[in-house]
């Protein structure tokens, strides 16, 4: 499925960590939108399905210099090394149950195809993938609120954030019905984005300069000369990605004024951060 009709999208997100309050609306909106089940004890976070998970980071300093920040973490929809679509998970799935959409940049998951080998989970350093260790069960009557847009998953398969792909499909259907070639920015927004009470999440097409997400991120379309695997590095000095150095090329960008927060996004050897913290990709004139 290469780009046969007009230009390819590259949907992505930028999350303003200075606005994020850690309130959890995005998590619940995601669960409700995507028919995520729940069980009696969800306090073991290592077997609790939360496509959108919010990490709490601290600067590690002691009272009263402690600071905290919340970091929402959906699936990073990695483009893989060189942004060629070989995401860490997609490249290892033995049964093509997870795939990279070259027309959208979205990493999909086909639940009925997945046979539960969990290799993709091992491949993902973000813990964005969740296994259905149990059969999903709802209390009596509660199945009535399930949405037909997303099929509930059976036990034994892996699931993860889909960037609310069904919303993209619905928006595209409407556009098609109305005879439009493409969808508007506001027509396709993920459930976490619309739920965020602080407006901390901005979602859109990273390839479209008219979209807000592009304007904030200003992605560098060229490979990073310091690491050829990295493509799409932000040219906004306040914007970073998680584990960018691994070359996974996530489509989730984070924004923070605080240096310690930006530093926490990746791993650095001693002294390394100070050398590269002011490096933000090629200049804008390259665009």
């Amino acid at each position: 499925m290469k780009q046969n009709n007009n230009k390819a999208h590259k949907f992505g997100m930028v999350i303003d960590l200075d606005k994020c309050t850690g309130c959890g609306s995005c998590m619940v909106s995601c669960m409700s939108e995507n028919n995520v089940p729940f069980k009696e004890d969800e306090s073991n976070k290592k077997d609790s399905i939360t496509w959108m998970s919010v990490y709490k980071l601290t600067n590690g300093k002691s009272f009263p210099d402690t600071q905290i920040v919340y970091m929402p973490r959906p699936c990073q929809h990695c483009g893989g090394k060189g942004d060629h679509g070989h995401s860490p998970c997609v490249s290892v799935c033995p049964a093509v149950a997870t795939d990279y959409g070259y027309d959208t940049g979205i990493v999909s998951q086909i639940y009925t195809r997945c046979f539960g080998c969990r290799y993709c989970m091992g491949a993902c350093p973000y813990h964005a993938r969740y296994f259905n260790w149990w059969d999903p069960k709802w209390p009596e009557g509660m199945e009535n609120y399930l949405s037909p847009d997303v099929s509930p998953r059976m036990r034994g398969v892996v699931e993860k954030c889909s960037f609310c792909y069904h919303r993209y499909q619905a928006a595209r259907d409407i556009a098609y019905y109305e005879g439009r070639d493409d969808i508007e920015e506001h027509e396709y927004q993920t459930a976490c984005t619309t739920a965020c009470p602080a407006g901390a999440i901005v979602f859109g097409d990273l390839n479209n300069p008219a979209h807000q997400v592009h304007q904030i991120v200003k992605p560098d379309p060229h490979p990073d000369p310091r690491n050829k695997h990295v493509v799409g590095k932000s040219r906004n000095p306040k914007v970073f990605r998680l584990l960018e150095r691994l070359g996974t090329n996530p489509k989730i960008y984070y924004l923070s004024e605080r240096e310690w927060v930006r530093k926490a996004g990746d791993n650095y050897l001693d002294g390394e951060w100070d050398k590269i913290k002011n490096y933000h990709g090629a200049t804008l004139s390259n665009d």
Binding site: S32, K56, L146, S147, P148, S151, A195, A198
Partner: protein, 709 residues
């Protein structure tokens, strides 16, 4: 043919080979995997026509607009309503999870009557007759004032119907649970006079000095506050958070000022002292001060000089001077009170001291400041007609000013203070301090009628439950009562037919009133609640029904208001935590939990960190310096004068040494395994401390000791 061993073997092998090459195996393999893709026990949601309906959330006083997506008749998703004056898109996690309340396993599905220890089903007719019968008896006994009611709030038509019923029955004993709105009114009454309330213009202020107000912890109207906070940077506005713990608000603030718990009033007065000393106050504004401004000024400068205040509060004297200067010199400063969500225990000294800061810098009724104006009265109930019994009963004194005083009186008195109690949208057995004695008091009342949708802690103590619709099944006016700068009334609309055999509480009240006959029934001539609402909301009904909301007031009110400082001028004592242990236990408000009567939804509980709840253990926060020998994730026993509890330890550098933080909103005992029997209710461990002069329960915490479990 002789069948010997060899040919038998051959035959067997041949059969195996035959089956192996036949398509049977392939077919079975294929079928079995198709079966796994369609397991009958994995639900398949039914598709249908998509529609959207607007409504308003009433899970908290925030009153956000909601957009509900439906598939045919089934609501499947709740989202915030764009362009709604309160939340303008966006919604909190509890509202989004609202559908889980609709199908909550702990819902009361039919009217119930207690028989011994068990509830049994009864019909609505029988239930109403039973309640009416009991009320008639009370009235006959000549003391109608012994009917009491505890509701969540005073505003709104349903609360109005309850008040009307009590009044025409002959009882003044209508109580509300403590809420931010109730504290706003208490503060306004103390400083500006009765019938006033206060709103904070957070979205325009350029310097917010918050005395522990959890602006992003669910204080006020949560989504509205989140938005105001999120726009802060763009507006170049500052937020200074004064709090003993690094809450999310403190972490998000421009500056966090750790303070000894319970000394916020002292710090506020200390800041006043600097402002007065350095002549940073607005002289014109002080002209409005009554009740001894000079006395106050002298007292403050004497008792709350920076060095003294520093000693009391633990905030450096230089910081106090700096904060005072910044606050006074800001263009649109506002000081905000109401620790945590603002609905927990508060002292009037603290509320008044903080608000005095607003008065001193003259931000009252100015953009970005504090708005002081009369409470909005948008409902027009017809005047009551009361018979002589009602007149006599209603003119008697209330059993107490606040609900905690009612509880105390019930417990102390040997004779029944209350013969019958109505509880609506409130769960005092869970949310008031020292829940054990609250339960005891409720248990002492001979006849308790709960209107709860859920079998909550208080409903369990009731004799009759008349279950209400949830907010998704009913029509109701929802005034925003949360310290907002604007006053908005929203309309909650039914988005689904009632799932169970429940009724609108308004309808239940009307039915009870009709069953009581006579002058009481005459005051309830509406056929249904819906009809009642339409008539009493007359003035704004069109707007409500067309737009889904009506804006009562917006923007800074005009005119100045008088400020009465007599309460503070007497320098009331600062509340001390009960007990003599070394450490102080304080409750923590967590946005992902609910500390009012209802429990957080399964989805919300799922989002709660394992540093707050682990299995069924509650996790308390403590600074490593204070924890001494205790290990992170280890177990410990907390002992307060109220009781003991086994807890898990979370070493947290964001805690001020000397305090232990325990989250509010856990430890429910509903019949819902997803949300109940998890952790403990912090209100079990904290007892009320009544502030003399105001009568408020002002227990900001309690003294506690901790030992390894």
């Amino acid at each position: 043919m002789k069948v010997d061993r060899r040919s038998f073997l051959g035959l067997g092998l041949g059969a195996v080979a035959g089956v192996a090459v036949s398509p049977v195996g392939i077919k079975l393999t294929d079928d079995s995997s198709i079966w796994t893709q369609n397991w009958p026990w994995t639900p398949v949601p039914i598709d249908g026509e998509v529609t959207y309906e607007n409504s308003v959330c009433s899970l908290c006083p925030g009153s956000c607009g909601l957009s509900i997506r439906k598939i045919d008749d089934r609501p499947v998703k709740i989202e915030g309503l764009a362009e709604h004056p309160v939340n303008d898109g966006g919604a909190c996690l509890h509202g989004i999870a609202g559908l889980q309340y609709l199908y909550d396993p702990a819902r009361v599905k039919t009217p119930l009557k207690k028989n011994g220890d068990k509830f049994e089903k009864i019909s609505w007719d029988d239930a109403i007759a039973l309640v009416a019968g009991k009320l008639v008896d009370i009235r006959k006994s000549g003391s109608p004032e012994k009917l009491a009611c505890i509701a969540d709030k005073e505003q709104g038509s349903v609360s109005g119907l309850f008040q009307r019923l009590l009044k025409t029955f002959g009882s003044p004993n209508f109580y509300t649970m403590p809420s931010l709105e109730s504290y706003l009114e208490v503060t306004a009454e103390a400083l500006h006079g009765e019938g006033m309330t206060i709103g904070f213009d957070l979205e325009n202020s350029d310097f917010v000095l918050s005395f522990g107000a959890g602006i992003i912890e669910g204080w006020g109207s949560p989504v509205n506050c989140f938005k105001a906070n999120a726009s802060r940077r763009a507006r170049h506005a500052k937020l200074y958070q004064i709090e003993s713990r690094l809450s999310n608000t403190a972490a998000n603030a421009d500056k966090w000022i750790p303070i000894k718990p319970g000394t916020e009033a002292d710090l506020a007065l200390g800041i006043c002292a600097v402002i007065l000393k350095n002549n940073l106050f607005n002289g014109g504004a002080t002209a409005n001060f009554r009740g001894g401004f000079n006395k106050l000024a002298i007292m403050i400068q004497k008792d709350y000089a920076p060095s003294k205040t520093a000693e009391i509060t633990g905030v450096k004297a230089s910081d106090i001077e700096k904060i005072a200067t910044l606050f006074a010199k800001a263009k649109m400063p506002v000081a905000v009170f109401g620790k945590g969500r603002g609905d927990g225990a508060q002292s009037l000294k603290e509320l008044a001291a903080v608000h005095t800061l607003n008065c001193l810098v003259d931000n009252i009724n100015k953009e970005g400041g504090a708005f002081v104006q009369p409470q909005s009265e948008y409902l027009e109930f017809p005047d009551e007609s009361m018979d002589s019994i009602a007149d006599a009963g209603f003119s008697k004194n209330k059993a107490g000013r606040y609900v905690n005083q009612l509880i105390e009186k019930v417990n102390e008195s040997s004779k029944p203070v209350v013969e019958a109690l109505f509880v609506y949208n409130a769960n005092p057995c869970y949310s008031l301090h020292d829940s054990k004695s609250v339960k005891q008091a409720i248990g002492k009342i001979p006849f308790v009628v709960s209107f709860s949708s859920f079998l909550d802690e208080t409903a369990k103590e009731a004799d009759i439950i008349l279950p209400s619709h949830t907010f998704l099944e009913r029509l109701e006016d929802v005034p925003s009562c949360a310290g907002l700068a604007k006053s908005v009334v929203g309309l909650t609309k039914p988005v689904i037919d009632p799932v169970f055999d429940t009724k609108h509480a308004g309808d239940a009240v009307i039915l009870i009133a009709k069953a009581l006959e006579g002058s009481i029934a005459q005051n309830f001539e509406w056929e249904t609640y819906d009809e009642c609402l339409e008539s009493v909301a007359g003035g704004i009904w069109d707007s409500l029904s067309e737009d889904g909301y009506a804006i009562i007031s917006e923007g800074a009110p005009s005119g100045s208001v008088a400020v009465n400082v007599s309460f503070l001028a007497d320098n009331p004592a600062t509340i001390q935590a009960q007990g003599d242990y070394e450490l102080t236990l304080i409750p923590i408000d967590n946005m992902r939990l609910i500390n009012a009567g209802i429990a957080a939804s399964p989805f919300a509980i799922k989002t709660v960190s394992d540093k707050v709840l682990k299995g069924s253990d509650i996790v308390v926060e403590i600074n490593p310096l204070t924890a001494k020998g205790l290990k992170d994730r280890g177990y410990a026993t907390l002992t307060t004068p109220m009781g003991t509890a086994r807890v898990m330890i979370n070493l947290n550098e964001g805690m001020m040494p000397g305090i232990i933080g325990m989250v509010e909103g856990l430890g429910h005992t509903f019949d819902n395994k997803y949300v109940s029997n998890k952790g403990i209710n912090v209100n079990d461990l904290i007892g009320p401390v009544i502030e003399s002069g105001s009568g408020l329960d002002a227990a900001f915490g309690i003294k506690v000791k901790i030992s390894k479990a």
